[in-house]
Symmetry: C2
DNA sequence: ATACCATACCTATTGAAAATAGGTATGGAT
DNA sequence: ATCCATACCTATTTTCAATAGGTATGGTAT
């Protein structure tokens, strides 16, 4: 039903890139890690994360590596240098945006 | 071309409601006010603002009032009490989200 | 042994919302 | 008389999160 709820656009991408900056992770792990890291405030399901990972890999921001672990296959993702640059850009965008909005919200209730 | 760029979803609505909390404004004025208030960081054009105003009015969050000013007609919008409640809800949502993301971004680069 | 749940991957469809790119009309300034 | 700023509007496109599935394996409980 709900499509892109408030303030979510671009957030999964930003968080995934940020978490992968710390260490390589596989998809199923990322789903849990995003939710954990944000205290469940942001908790995109697999239907969001997997297509995102594929898109980011296609864009050359992530590098995928299939590793058999305990008879199962996990696809580990790591940041490319291009991915690092995108992370910085997105972080900057987000910071500017957040500061601007914060400013308006806290601004005087008595107009300009 | 671009559809819903990063972090913008719900932002025009939040900012419009916030600005109208201070005083009644008309559409064309709001377009400029949003850009001004955010230092051009967020600057939705008329194609975003007008449909948004109509949707918010339809939802009962805004009350519209047509006023002839200098031979021209301006449509002034004001917050309803329902609109005020929505503003509070959205502000809360945004704050929680912003705090969570900030936390992840600033978090240790050495993983969990 | 068998049923069941967690793990681990995947995709097609839907819905919402911003951006683009227009269009109409009036008033004032050059 | 022309042109720009004001002031309203809408149809179409594009993107992306969300929903709601589906497949397969390993381990645990009955």
């Amino acid at each position: 039903m709900a499509a892109s709820p408030n303030f979510m656009t671009g957030v999964p991408e930003l968080l995934v890139l940020r978490l992968l900056q710390d260490r390589e992770m596989y998809g199923y792990e990322i789903v849990a890690a995003v939710a954990e890291a944000t205290g469940q405030v942001v908790a995109p399901k697999e239907g969001v994360i997997y297509p995102l990972l594929h898109a980011l890999e296609q864009e050359g921001l992530l590098r995928a590596q299939r590793r058999p672990v305990g008879g199962r296959i996990r696809v580990y993702y790591g940041l490319t240098s291009k991915g690092v640059r995108r992370l910085f850009d997105l972080s900057d965008d987000w910071s500017r945006m957040a500061r601007a909005i914060q400013h308006v919200l806290k601004g005087p209730t008595h107009a300009i």
